[in-house]
């Protein structure tokens, strides 16, 4: 009792975790890292990366012990005595180590005797650092013997960490050795230099051949180049085929590696194919099934801070040009500097959701550990972070370092401690995010953890006090290691599983468990090397909230046999022994795949259109606009253009490519050169309509020309009407509209039997933020005239519209959607349109970056609701009714041209999205106002600009970024957002049809968008979805389409050979055709 009291006194309290004082733990270890003249950040780029921690029960007394590595000093082993008290047994155990620079460590039973051994990585060979990777074999008596050379694991290179796993399913543990380069290349080499093996920095795969480990990297297809900056290794069966795969995090410009295990002793690296983008400075990682779909998701860490003061004083994102060069010329993949959460899509590929999930930013982050810390059945994630010195501080780089470092470097090669002292410190609070039923996380750092300002690198979890919840330990630089004691205790239920598997993998590494309670599956796989340079306890832990019984546990052993336990009481620790008789695991049954809705067909013969976007960077001219406006093609129109009863297809191309017509024949499609289109190839065509406009029984073609490159009264902006005749298409009279349009929607507004038009204006080129003109054009026997409608004309930056009877008077009205505007309802009264939005829309503030609209009775109540595609929530833009996304539009620098300044709210204050360099590139006066980055960082938009200047500006706002629908309740509309799976990227197109032939219509949705700066990354994770009535949804890989990584513009039904196909057009890509099952 007494000891408990004193224990409390010493604890720094958090909402879920208390920090246990070292007076209780008796753990005094700290990783002391101090610069010397011989060894510092200038000599070794990872001087501040910190060290690791491995936890495990080394003496099989059911208490988890702790081993810390120390970069420069002796490693320490602490024996757990219970109640968070530990005893330093390093010298007795003989595990202090002999290397000059230690890094990662793992506890694993390498020799298969049922006792955990300890592997310690080292960096050897730079600046006289001596030593080797060490393997301390457990003598089962509290002592260890170093036997790395005997096992062939005594590498003297630049190691980060090692992961033990059975890669070839032969029953023993093999090892992946994660290494890192130590040099900084002046130029990015080509990506393929990773094919040339390098001993010191190349990763290695070591096969356990019983007595010895053998390097089989090359034959197994493992990269080992000079470019590998390996900082994280994750092992899991990502595609549930019974073999363990690998995800390797690489720092800097080298891509991460995603190795799929071929099951024949080799791997195939397929990152580019399976991931849209990854972290740029990838550090530690972890895997967990966060969404209960039976597939392991991946989190990789980076170094982007939340805090404005740090963010804006640090080096920002690379330029578009630089990114394009790395991708297109050197062969790297898309990488952006932030944490990434890669959600596994049925083992087929990954969609990245960190921004939507709320876990993108956690400062200079090292170690991610997924676990159910609050025992509620959802995975949470702990992130250790911090860096002694922030070397990417812009003032330091540009203004301070010069005087302090230059001379030292050029003359004596020594670094001045004074110079390092000036670098700002990066000691910060560790992060923890609480998982939820969906894919969102809540930042609980300030609530769950004791407040601190430390530098934590390696970290591990374990149930140190055997109370059933998960505790944490971090290895800190220059402060004592932190023990976080979890105090959820048994307020929430749990199961802790340990395994007694076959020799030599007695601990059962690689074992998978699927737990079911109350119909909820949870899925885990046992691996211990995770986070950063560290290994966690060899157990599987599930939280169950209030549930007292687990319906069943399916245990899939590493040899892909399965055994099942049923009706298990929660709140206990079980050691699951492998049964003698076990069934073979059937993965297709365990992780069943539903029949997909669509099947990709290579193509309908001849339909080979490929859209090529011309290389125009809008940001070169309008440097501050939020996204491109010149990449919204191709236009697509389906209809019979030669009056032969078959549907033809028009594709409107980008600048310098002629638009094309594919004519349908009985055997397929045939591209025919159309002279009039060749002439106008400088036009960028973004929408088109095939209809009979002059009522001669033949269908005509109307094209909206657009594109951000042309402005003012460029003739390339004029829309064109081509009338069908026996001799082909002939250009006809049409009003000269110089607008940059987005959409044409025909409808007989005046009810005179011919088709009139709504033409929606998107933007004003070279003057983003200005409101373009939208028009109603009245058709008079094929001749169009603009019908004046002032309100409609300046309605906003229109992207889509629909003619629909929203008020039930059997006359179609018009709804217009667009960016920086609300969905606007225009009632059709005898051919004149009146804006009735405020009367029938229940949401007063509903501006979005709306992209698409479709009518659909989603709630199945007999009236039309309206589905709305928006920008989505997986973005750095933030918007709400109270704190809208703001865009100030004005001529800030008095150069007779307008600029836009975007600001988002953080903690109720508004900050510019762009940093000082980007802003002052256009608004040069800011360079004089802010002569240092520190003086700019943390300033609100009102502080950056004069209030006067902002007051003068026109303010555009967005309140809603979510896609969703306007629910129709007796003619009044309320916006309801969709679920998270539909918020991953902009939804740009919707296609209504009865796809599954069940007599009910569904809406197919697709999207993604890439016309943003590297600050945003790429909105590439939306695979496509089916939305049906009554919450019927089909997501992701179950659809049979993979439109992730593609910027979808439109989807159309094309009838060919009496069969309907779905044709998807893609910006800067090939048309895709799907048949319906």
């Amino acid at each position: 009792m007494l000891s408990l009291f004193s224990c409390d006194d010493y604890q720094e309290k958090g909402g879920l975790f208390d920090k246990v004082d070292s007076r209780i733990t008796k753990v005094t270890f700290q990783n002391i890292v101090e610069s010397t003249e011989d060894l510092n950040i200038l000599d070794y780029l990872y001087f501040y990366n910190g060290a690791g921690v491995a936890v495990g029960d080394i003496n099989n007394d059911d208490l988890v012990d702790v081993f810390f590595t120390s970069n420069l000093h002796k490693n320490k082993l602490y024996l757990n005595k219970g109640n968070f008290e530990f005893e330093d047994i390093t010298s007795k155990a003989g595990v202090a180590g002999n290397s000059d620079w230690n890094t990662g460590t793992t506890m694993a039973d390498v020799n298969g005797d049922g006792f955990l051994d300890i592997y310690v990585c080292a960096v050897v060979g730079i600046q006289g650092l001596d030593g080797k990777n060490e393997l301390f074999i457990n003598n089962r008596d509290g002592t260890f013997t170093e036997k790395a050379s005997q096992y062939g694991l005594d590498f003297d290179n630049y190691s980060s960490a090692a992961a033990f796993f059975d890669y070839d399913n032969d029953g023993d543990l093999d090892m992946y050795l994660l290494n890192h380069a130590i040099h900084t290349q002046k130029s990015f080499g080509k990506a393929n230099i990773r094919n040339n093996r390098n001993f010191e920095s190349g990763d290695k795969l070591l096969r356990n051949d019983g007595e010895k480990f053998v390097d089989i990297s090359e034959q197994a297809g493992i990269y080992g180049g000079v470019n590998g900056y390996g900082l994280g290794v994750a092992t899991a069966d990502f595609n549930n085929d019974g073999y363990t795969d690998l995800y390797i995090s690489n720092d800097f410009h080298e891509d991460d590696y995603y190795y799929l295990n071929n099951g024949d002793g080799t791997f195939k690296e397929v990152l580019k194919e399976k991931f849209g983008h990854t972290s740029r400075f990838s550090m530690g990682s972890d895997v967990a099934d966060i969404n209960h779909d039976g597939f392991m998701d991946i989190m990789t860490l980076d170094m982007i801070p939340e805090n404005e003061k740090t963010l804006k004083a640090s080096v920002g994102d690379e330029t578009i040009d630089m990114l394009e060069m790395r991708i297109n010329r050197l062969g790297y993949h898309y990488q952006y500097a932030r944490n990434m959460l890669q959600v596994n899509q049925g083992g087929d590929f990954f969609s990245e959701t960190a921004l939507l999930s709320g876990v993108a930013e956690s400062d200079w982050s090292w170690s991610a550990l997924f676990a159910d810390y609050d025992n509620d059945g959802e995975q949470d994630v702990f992130i250790s972070n911090g860096i002694p010195k922030r070397p990417n501080d812009l003032d330091y780089i540009k203004y301070i370092s010069n005087d302090k470092i230059k001379d030292k470097l050029t003359k004596t090669k020594l670094v001045d401690n004074e110079a390092l002292d000036i670098m700002p410190s990066g000691a910060v609070q560790n992060y923890i995010f609480q998982g939820s039923k969906n894919i969102r996380f809540k930042n609980q750092s300030a609530h769950w953890l004791p407040q601190d300002s430390i530098i934590s690198t390696g970290s591990a979890y374990a149930d140190f006090d055997n109370d059933g919840d998960i505790d944490l330990v971090t290895n800190n630089i220059n402060t004592p290691a932190t023990f976080y004691k979890n105090k959820i205790n048994q307020n929430s239920n749990y199961l802790k599983l340990k395994f007694a598997y076959k020799k030599p993998n007695i601990f059962g590494l690689g074992t998978k468990v699927i737990s079911y309670h109350q119909g909820i599956p949870q899925y885990k796989q046992l691996y211990v090397t995770k986070g950063f340079q560290s290994s966690s306890e060899a157990m599987i832990h599930f939280g169950y909230g209030k549930a007292e019984t687990v319906d069943s546990l399916k245990i899939i052993w590493p040899d892909n046999t399965i055994q099942i336990a049923e009706n298990i009481k929660t709140n206990q620790t079980l050691t699951i022994k492998v049964l003698h008789k076990r069934a073979t695991a059937n993965y297709t049954k365990l992780f069943p795949k539903q029949k997909p809705w669509f099947r990709r067909v290579d193509s309908i013969p001849g339909l080979d259109y490929e859209h090529k976007e011309n290389n125009y960077v809008d940001f070169n001219r309008q440097k501050l606009i939020p996204y491109k406006i010149s990449d919204r093609g191709p236009a697509t129109a389906v209809g019979d253009l030669n009056n032969d009863g078959k549907e033809d297809i028009f594709f409107g191309s980008s600048k310098n490519e002629p638009s094309q017509i594919y004519f349908q024949t009985s055997s397929g499609f045939k591209l025919q050169k159309v002279e009039v289109l060749e002439i106008e190839k400088r036009n960028e065509d973004v929408d088109a309509v095939i209809e009979d406009f002059n009522k001669d029984g033949k269908k005509d073609l109307l094209i909206a020309s657009s594109g951000g490159e042309y402005f003012g009264r460029s003739k390339e902006l004029i829309d064109r009407l081509y009338l069908a005749s026996d001799s082909g298409l002939i250009e006809a009279q049409f009003p000269e509209l110089y607008e940059h349009e987005s959409v044409i929607k025909p409808f007989d507004v005046d009810n005179d039997g011919d088709l009139d038009l709504f033409i929606g204006g998107y933007t004003v080129s070279n003057n983003f933020g200005a409101i373009p003109n939208s028009y109603i054009l009245i058709n008079n026997q094929g001749e169009f005239t603009v019908k004046e409608n002032k309100e409609l004309q300046k309605i906003g930056m229109v992207t889509d519209a629909i003619w629909t009877d929203f008020d039930g008077d059997r006359i179609k009205d018009l709804i217009v959607v667009g960016e920086w505007m609300r969905p606007s309802f225009f009632k059709n009264k005898n051919g004149t349109l009146f804006n009735v939005t405020s009367q029938i829309s229940k949401d007063t503030s509903n501006n979005g970056l709306w992209q698409s609209i479709e009518e659909f009775d989603i709630d199945n109540d007999g009236d039309y609701d309206y589905l709305l595609g928006n920008f989505g929530l997986n973005t750095k833009f933030k918007a709400s009714v109270n704190f809208p996304l703001k865009m100030f539009y004005s001529d800030f620098d008095n150069n007779q041209k307008t600029e836009t300044v975007l600001a988002i709210a953080k903690n109720k204050k508004y900050y510019t999205i762009l940093g000082l360099d980007d802003l002052s590139n256009q608004l040069n006066f800011l360079r004089k106002k802010f002569t240092t980055y520190a003086s700019f960082a943390g300033k609100t938009v009102e502080e950056v600009f004069d209030k006067k200047m902002l007051d003068k500006a026109i303010l555009l706002e967005v309140h809603q970024l979510a896609s969703g629908y306007l629910k129709n309740e007796q003619g009044k509309f309320t916006f309801i957002p969709f679920e998270d799976e539909l918020q991953i990227a902009p939804i740009t197109t919707m296609l209504k049809n009865d796809f599954n032939k069940d007599g009910e219509q569904e809406v197919f949705m697709a999207g993604n968008y890439f016309g943003v700066t590297p600050y945003h990354g790429r909105f590439d994770g939306f695979v496509g979805a089916i939305v049906g009535k009554n919450n019927m949804r089909v997501f992701g890989n179950r659809l049979g389409v993979d439109l992730s990584k593609k910027a979808v513009i439109t989807a159309n039904i094309v009838n060919f050979g009496d069969k309907d196909y779905v044709m998807v057009t893609i910006n800067n890509g090939k048309v895709e055709v799907y048949e319906l099952y």
Partner: protein
């Protein structure tokens, strides 16, 4: 009490007497050194703020012109530049009834104009205020009048400066990289920075008729055919680089390349650690040579201002001419081509600066500046160039400005950042431009 009052009174009288004598009689003595120091101060601020070479040349130019116009007010030897520099009108004339020290006014105007052109105004202000305080202490009346006049001229010059299109060029489009055409410039390692100042040709020149007046003849046609003149030049740059690497630290070519590097922002990366090595620009180096020559010839204040002004006008126009050509020919740098086609690990001795290759800026500027300096100080003017000592480089000796210019030009080949044509034709472009500036201005009488 009375006694104390008396004491105060007598002290007061003494004080007045002291002030009276000093205000009326003591002159503020300004020597050429004060002008050199002001130039050095502005250089220091420019290095801190990191201005690219063309922008730096503009910052040298206008303050010197302001100072020069003031000294020409009081000295018949120096013709006013008004009406002879594009758009410059006569400055307000000096009120000879007032006690105005034109040298003080010249420095006041110099610093005032300079302050506006840099970012870190505070750094100029600190320097200025210490000068002001010392002058005020010597002769407040003279200082006040001179300062007033200096500021008046500065205002006049600033209005002229404001019309040179600099502000407009700040907001013009970023340079668009042509990734299709293999001969076009691409960003270079390690920072792959955007092409700087793509619209510098829009800046109003001081003397030359237009930015394109001294368009050099074309460089050899881009070709990767082994026997083409272009490829041979590419190979020369590559081979010289390899040779220098082999020769190592003792290579004279290496020393020459480093001596004339004159790169205001050399970026160094060590993992996540980045820092910049900052040096003066090519224009600043020649301003430094001008200082050396002024000091060697012991020029007085007025002649010193004249020498700096003439030199900086030529340098500024040389940059406009050179940048006009750079973004016309938009030629790819040797580093890019060598890495693509010859040796992917080849690195130039110097860091490739972030703009197109042809012509070499240092060659054009050295050509122009050397012409003007030869005109002022004569041919075969021997000097020891210690301009770069502050930046950790040695002293080099030259027998003439011409020879120095030639070495500066060829240093770009040694540095691995240019082909020979950019050097030879660049030097020619600069010399012709320099001669033109001399002939057109003839600013010093006799």
């Amino acid at each position: 009490m009375n006694y104390i009052n008396k004491l105060y009174k007598s002290l007061f009288v003494l004080g007045v007497v002291f002030c009276f004598s000093s205000c009326e009689k003591e002159e503020i003595i300004i020597t050429a050194n004060e002008y050199h120091n002001a130039i050095d101060k502005l250089t220091e601020v420019m290095v801190h703020d990191i201005f690219s070479p063309p922008v730096a040349s503009r910052i040298y130019n206008y303050p010197n012109i302001a100072a020069y116009e003031i000294i020409s007010q009081g000295n018949d030897n120096y013709k006013t530049l008004s009406k002879r520099l594009h758009g410059l009108e006569a400055i307000p004339s000096v009120d000879t009834t007032k006690n105005i020290n034109l040298r003080v006014a010249a420095i006041v105007a110099y610093l005032e104009v300079g302050k506006q052109l840099v970012f870190s105004e505070d750094k100029v202000e600190v320097y200025r205020d210490s000068l002001y305080n010392s002058w005020k202490a010597i002769n407040k009346n003279s200082f006040d009048n001179s300062k007033k006049y200096g500021l008046e001229v500065a205002e006049h010059v600033k209005k002229w400066v404001a019309t040179d299109n600099y502000a407009q060029t700040r907001t013009m489009p970023k340079f668009s990289i042509d990734t299709e055409n293999p001969s076009r410039w691409q960003p270079t390692p390690p920072d792959y920075m955007d092409g700087i100042e793509p619209h510098w040709r829009e800046i109003r020149p001081s003397v030359i008729d237009s930015s394109s007046q001294f368009t050099p003849s074309k460089h050899p046609d881009f070709s990767l055919e082994k026997d083409s003149p272009f490829y041979k030049e590419l190979l020369e740059t590559y081979t010289v680089g390899v040779t220098i690497k082999e020769e190592g630290e003792t290579s004279e070519k290496l020393e020459i390349a480093q001596f004339w590097d004159c790169n205001p922002y050399v970026s160094t990366h060590r993992g996540h650690l980045m820092f910049a090595t900052k040096k003066i620009t090519p224009g600043a180096h020649w301003i430094g040579i001008c200082k050396i020559a002024c000091k060697k010839d012991k020029l007085d204040f007025e002649n010193t201002v004249y020498a700096y002004t003439h030199t900086s006008i030529a340098i500024a126009d040389a940059f406009i001419s050179c940048w006009d050509e750079k973004y016309r020919s938009n030629l790819i740098r040797p580093e890019t081509l060598i890495n693509q086609h010859i040796d992917e690990n080849w690195e130039p001795v110097l860091q490739t600066p972030p703009f197109p290759e042809y012509t070499s800026g240092h060659s054009v500027v050295s050509g122009a500046a050397s012409k003007v300096l030869t005109q002022i100080f004569g041919d075969n003017f021997e000097f020891n160039d210690n301009t770069e000592v502050k930046y950790g480089l040695p002293i080099r000796s030259f027998v003439s400005f011409d020879k120095a210019a030639e070495e500066a030009a060829i240093s770009r080949l040694y540095g691995g950042i240019h082909y020979r044509a950019a050097i030879d034709l660049g030097l020619e472009q600069g010399r012709e431009l320099g001669s033109f500036v001399i002939g057109k201005l003839q600013i010093k009488k006799n």
